[in-house]
C-alpha cells in the first residue's frame, strides 16, 4: 500500500466511527423528538407465555379435573388462550368472581395429558389509601359477605380479639392506620415457614408461624374483626421455568376498591408486576378425581411482546421503524424471530472482544454466537448441559466413523445425521420426562454443532484431549457471554426500537479492528520477554 493511500485510510478510519455515531444519534433524536419514541414504552411490554400441564392415568373410570383460570383484571390481561383436552370434554364454569376450566369424561383408560396455555401481560399497581376512611364506614352488600367469620378465618374467636386488642387496633382510627398495623404484624411479627398444607388463621397465630396462606388469613381475620371486608387471593408468581407452587395473598375492601396486601413478599397496598391472579376466596386452585395418579406443573416463559398498541399512535414516516417491523408479519417474520436476527450484530461483540482483546481460542470464528442462538431456546443451564452431551456423543461417533475410513464430506454428513437423530432422541426423552427446556434441543443449530464436533475431534487428535476440552470450555464462555447480550430484554428493546444502534456497534468494531496492542493472554505468553531488563 502506498504511503498516501495509507494516510487516506487512516483519516477515513478516524472519521468513519465518528460519522456513524453521529448518524445513529441524529436518527435516534429525530425519532424521540418527532415520532414520540421512548424506551419506557418499549421496555414495559413484557409478557409471559403460561402453560399449565396436567397428567393423569385413568382405570376405565370417570374423571373430572377442574382448575382456576386467570381472567382479565386491572392488573392483568389474558390473551391467546388454548386448551388441550385429549379425549376429555372441556367446558368453562363461571361465577361472579371466578372462572374455572373443567375437563371431564365418563371413562378414561390409560394416560392422558391436559393443558392450558395463554399469554399473560401483567403490570404493577400501587394503591393510595384515603386516610379519612374509617372501619365504621358503610359497607355495600356485595362486600358484606367478606365480614363473616368462617372455619379458616376465625374473626370472632376470643384469641383473635385479644390479639386485636394487644395490637391496639381501633375502629376509631382510619383503615390506613389499622391496615398498617395488621400488615406489620403478619409480615414482621410472624415467622415464615413453608407449609405444604393449608393452615387457618387461629392455628397460625398460636404457632406464631405460617406460610403465605396462614399470614394472609390472620390479616383477613383481624380485618374482619374490625369491620373491614377481607378476602384471600390465589395466584401465581410469574418467573421463567417450571414450577408447581401457587401463592396466596389478601385484599381489603377500602373505599370501593379491593386493595391487595402481600405479607409474605412485603407488598403494602400494591400488586407487583409478577403476580397473576387466578382466583378469589377460600377455594382450591385445582380439584380432580382421586386415584388417577394426577400430576401438574406450570411452565412459564418470559417474552417481550410487540408494542403494536403504541404503534398506532405513531405517525406514518419512513423512519418509523416500529411500523416497518409490523409489516414483517406479512412474510411471517415475527418480532421474536426479528429479535434473533437484529441482536446478532450486538451478540458478536462478545466474540470480537474475547478474540481480539482477550485472545481466547474458540471453535470457529462465529461459532460461539451461533451456539448462543441455540441457548435461546433451551435456556443457559440446559443449553450448556446439552452442548456437553452432544459433544460427548459426537466425539464417540467420530471415533467409530474414523474406523470406517470414509471420505471427508460423506463422513461429516453421517456425523450430522447421527447428531440430528441424537438431538431428536433427547427431545423425546425431555418431553416424556417433562423437561420442556431440555426438549427444545431439537431447535439447536445442528450443522454448527456437527462442525464443532469435527473441530473438537481434529484438535483432540492433533494436540490432545485436554487442549480440546480447554477450547470447548472457552467456546462456552464466549457463547454464554454472547447469549447474555442477545437475551437481554433491555438491549433487545433498544435495538428493536433504535436499530441505528448497530451503526454504533460498527463504529466499535472499527475501533477494535484498528487495535494493535497486546491481546490480554499475550501478557502471559510473552511474560518472560516483558520482564527482561
Amino acid at each position: 500500500m502506498s504511503v498516501s493511500r495509507l494516510k487516506a485510510s487512516k483519516v477515513l478510519i478516524g472519521v468513519l466511527p465518528a460519522l456513524l455515531i453521529f448518524v445513529a444519534s441524529a436518527v435516534a433524536m429525530y425519532k424521540i423528538k418527532y415520532l414520540g419514541y421512548n424506551l419506557e414504552a418499549v421496555t414495559q411490554s413484557e409478557s409471559y407465555h403460561l402453560e399449565m400441564v396436567m397428567e393423569l392415568d385413568g382405570h376405565s373410570s370417570p374423571v373430572e379435573v377442574s382448575i382456576a383460570l386467570p381472567k382479565n383484571l386491572p392488573n392483568q390481561t389474558v390473551k391467546d388462550e388454548a386448551f388441550g383436552s385429549d379425549d376429555l370434554k372441556f367446558s368453562f364454569e363461571k361465577n361472579r368472581l371466578n372462572r374455572r376450566g373443567k375437563w371431564q369424561s365418563s371413562s378414561v383408560d390409560g394416560k392422558r395429558q391436559l393443558n392450558y396455555t395463554a399469554t399473560i401481560l401483567t403490570k404493577n399497581i400501587k394503591y393510595i389509601i384515603d386516610s379519612t376512611i374509617l372501619p365504621t364506614n358503610q359497607v355495600p352488600k356485595s362486600a358484606a359477605f367478606y365480614l363473616l367469620p368462617d372455619s379458616m378465618i376465625q374473626s370472632e374467636n376470643p384469641e383473635i380479639k385479644d390479639l386485636a386488642d394487644s395490637l391496639h387496633l381501633s375502629s376509631d382510627s382510619s383503615i390506613l392506620y389499622n391496615s398498617r398495623i395488621i400488615y406489620d404484624f403478619a409480615t414482621y411479627g410472624m415467622n415464615y415457614v413453608r407449609y405444604s398444607g393449608t393452615i387457618d388463621a387461629l392455628t397460625a397465630y398460636r404457632l406464631n408461624e405460617a406460610s403465605c396462606g396462614g399470614k394472609s388469613r390472620i390479616m383477613a381475620a383481624l380485618a374482619r374483626y374490625l369491620g373491614i371486608p377481607a378476602r384471600l387471593v390465589g395466584g401465581k408468581i410469574l418467573s421463567s421455568g417450571q414450577s408447581k407452587a401457587t401463592h396466596i395473598w389478601v385484599e381489603f375492601y377500602i373505599g370501593n376498591y379491593w386493595v391487595p396486601f402481600c405479607p409474605t413478599n412485603e407488598y403494602f397496598a400494591e400488586i407487583p408486576s409478577n403476580y397473576l391472579i387466578l382466583y378469589y376466596g377460600e377455594i382450591s386452585f385445582i380439584t380432580h378425581t382421586k386415584d388417577i395418579n394426577f400430576k401438574y406443573y406450570f411452565n412459564l416463559k418470559k417474552r417481550l411482546t410487540s408494542t403494536v398498541a403504541g404503534l398506532n399512535k405513531l405517525k406514518k414516516n419512513p423512519l418509523d421503524i416500529l411500523n416497518i417491523w409490523a409489516t414483517f408479519k406479512k412474510v411471517a417474520i415475527s418480532l421474536e424471530l426479528l429479535k434473533i436476527i437484529i441482536m446478532l450484530p450486538i451478540g458478536v461483540l462478545a466474540v470480537v472482544f474475547f478474540r481480539n482483546i482477550v485472545g481466547l481460542e474458540t471453535f470457529g470464528t462465529f461459532m460461539p454466537a451461533l451456539i448462543a442462538i441455540g441457548f435461546r431456546d433451551t435456556g443457559l443451564s440446559s443449553g450448556i448441559l446439552l452442548f456437553a452431551l452432544i459433544m460427548g456423543f459426537g466425539s464417540v461417533m467420530r471415533v467409530i466413523l474414523e474406523r470406517l475410513h470414509l471420505l471427508h464430506t460423506p463422513r461429516l454428513a453421517i456425523l450430522l445425521s447421527t447428531v440430528v437423530l441424537f438431538n431428536l432422541g433427547l427431545t423425546a426423552v425431555g418431553v416424556s420426562l417433562g423437561f420442556l427446556n431440555f426438549a427444545r434441543v431439537a431447535l439447536f443449530p445442528m450443522i454448527i454443532l456437527t462442525l464443532t464436533v469435527e473441530r473438537l475431534s481434529i484438535i483432540t487428535e492433533e494436540s490432545g484431549i485436554w487442549n480440546a476440552l480447554r477450547i470447548a470450555f472457552l467456546t462456552l464462555i464466549v457463547a454464554s457471554s454472547s447469549y447474555a447480550i442477545m437475551s437481554s430484554r433491555f438491549l433487545q428493546s433498544i435495538v428493536i426500537t433504535f436499530p441505528e444502534t448497530i451503526l454504533v456497534v460498527i463504529a466499535i468494531y472499527i475501533y477494535i479492528g484498528r487495535y494493535s496492542g497486546f491481546r490480554l493472554i499475550e501478557f502471559t505468553r510473552f511474560k518472560h520477554l516483558l520482564v527482561r531488563s
Binding site: Y511, S516, G517, F526, H528, L529
Partner: protein, 292 residues
Amino acid sequence: MAFLDIFKMLPSRKGIVGINKRNLDLIYTHNKRTYFPNVDNKLLCKKILQEHNIPVPKTLYVVDSPKVLKGWENELSSLDNFVIKPNRGFGGNGIKLIKRVEDTFYSSGEEISKDDITFHLQQIYNGAFSIDNTSDTAYFEETITNHPELSQFTLEGQDGITDIRIIYQDNIPVMAMLRAPTEESDGKANLHQGGIGIGIDLQTSMTTNGCHKNNFITHHPDNKIELKGHEVPFFQDMLEFGARISDIVNLGYIGVDFVCDVAHGAMVLEVNARPGLNIQLANQDGLGTKIQ
C-alpha cells in the same frame, strides 16, 4: 482510543509484537491478498523459486487427479524414504514421513500399509487438510537428511528434521531461529506442538539461547546439550536466498523455512506469509525493535 491504549504501552516500549500488531502493521500492510497463493500453493512456490535458481527439495510424484492415486507404487519403487504433503495445507497438518524397510512401510514408527498410504492421498485430494477444505493436490517429496551440525538437536532414531526460520521485511532479514523437534513434539519442529526454538545471531550465524513453550531455556529438554554457540551451516547461503524471495513471491513480510541437507546444503522448505511470533521468545527480543 484511550481505553485500549493501556494494553499497548508496555509491549510497544519493549518492542514486542502481538498478533493484532502483526496482522495490522506487518501482514496486511506488506502482503497483498492476491499474492498469497504464491506461497500457500507449495508446488507453485517451489516452481517459482526453482525458476530463480533457489534450491528446493525435489518433488517426486504429484497426485492431482483420482486416476493417478495408485501410481506412486511403481513410480517410487526404488525409493525407501519420502514425505507426503498436501499442496495447500497449514500448520503441518497432513504431512506424513514414510520409510520403507524391506517391503514394509513405516510412518511415525508405526507400520502402514500401501492402502493406508493411498487412502491418505485420497483424504488430501478431498481437501481434508487444505486450508479452505476444498479439493487439494497431494505430492511426494524427497526426504531431507539433516546436516550433522544440526542433527545433534534431534534425538537418536527420531524422524524429525531441524529447520531454520528467517523473517524478512522488504528483503531484509529481521530475525532468525532454529527449530528442533523434541520427544514431546513427536518429531515435528513446530513450536506450538512442543518443539524448541533457538535464536540465531544474524551477524555471526551462531545460535543463542532458546525457548520451549513460553519459557526461556539454555539446554535441550531431552538430550541436555547446550543450545548456545553452534554455528548454523550454510547460513550465509540462506540469508542470500531469502533476501531474493520477497521480490519473487511479491510479499513484503515473510517467514522462510530452510533446511540444511547433508548432500545439497541449504534449501527452501516453504515460505510463510503469516509467520508466527514465538521467534521473539527464541531470540529473547522483540520484532518491533528490528522493523520499521
